[in-house]
Amino acid sequence: MDETTAFALEGQRDATGARLGMWLFILSEILLFGGLFILYSAYRYKNPVDFHHASRELDVILGTLNTIILLTSSLSMAASIAAIQRSQRKLSMVLLIATMALGLFFLVNKGFEWGAKMEHGIYPNAPTLLARAKGEILFFGLYYVMTGLHGLHVLVGVCVLLVMLILLSKGKVRSTHFTPLENSGLYWHLVDIIWIFLYPLFYLIS
């Protein structure tokens, strides 16, 4: 290993250590979703035509809009950290609020999407869905589970960012100590990356 052995300096914070811990947690999240991606690949391999058909029922425009929303929220998130590094606290808070707003916008869209599907009788165990081909049942099953788990992560992310906003306002997160914000940013970008893969695999396979 190339780093010199770390001194245990008393009372000093270890920003690198905190970041390392967050990255390791992110690895576990990647494998959490990874398990679902394994299931997706397996069932798509077995039911290529059914997946193709089912995908046509998803709203590409809404999906693309959500992709752009999340990508933009990643921009505002990264910029928020850049701002506090430069001691621009107000700008940092504004950018953070923008990130949260975009996150909520994403969730609202998802809510509409799900709502529309459910109205058409496309939801797990619905009679309409069960009457369809097996591959389509699986497609929508995976659709709800994966976008659902992802949405849950977005919601948690928004809550975490809210806490960060409060800490920023109180000066507990500042230019000399912004590790919590940085780590929250890592989590947020992860959520963005997961969607980067969900989008083409569910919306663009027709």
């Binding site: 290993m1 245990a8 914070r13 690895l27 990874g34 690949s41 990264a78 850049a82 940085e182 663009l204």
Partner: protein
């Protein structure tokens, strides 16, 4: 442990450029989806998604500016682990009817 170290400051410009690239790549993957590409569809979609993720990891998540070995290793590691899981699972799924 050193006190809060100098994490290299990225310029706002860089972030904006990365964002533009991400949007462009999104457009590309969208248009590629509309075409008949047969078996290549998945591969192209994954390559583009991988590229977008790489940009987010390196620039938004600052992976590029991390110096310690452990940071450079973790993403390749998790990809390798995932790859192994999926390949070995497919060694079952793809050959259920016997090796042709």
């Amino acid at each position: 442990m050193k006190p809060e170290e100098e994490v290299r400051k990225t310029r706002y410009q860089t972030y904006a450029l990365v964002w533009v690239t991400l949007i462009i790549l999104t457009g590309i993957t969208l248009s590629a989806a509309g075409r008949e590409l047969g078996g290549w569809t998945v591969l192209i979609a994954l390559v583009i998604a991988g590229t977008k993720s790489g940009l987010v990891l390196n620039y938004f998540m600052h992976l590029r500016s991390e110096r310690l070995t452990v940071f450079k290793v973790i993403i390749p590691l998790v990809l390798a682990v995932f790859l192994v899981f999926i390949l070995l699972t497919f060694s079952d799924l793809a050959f259920r009817g016997g090796v042709k």
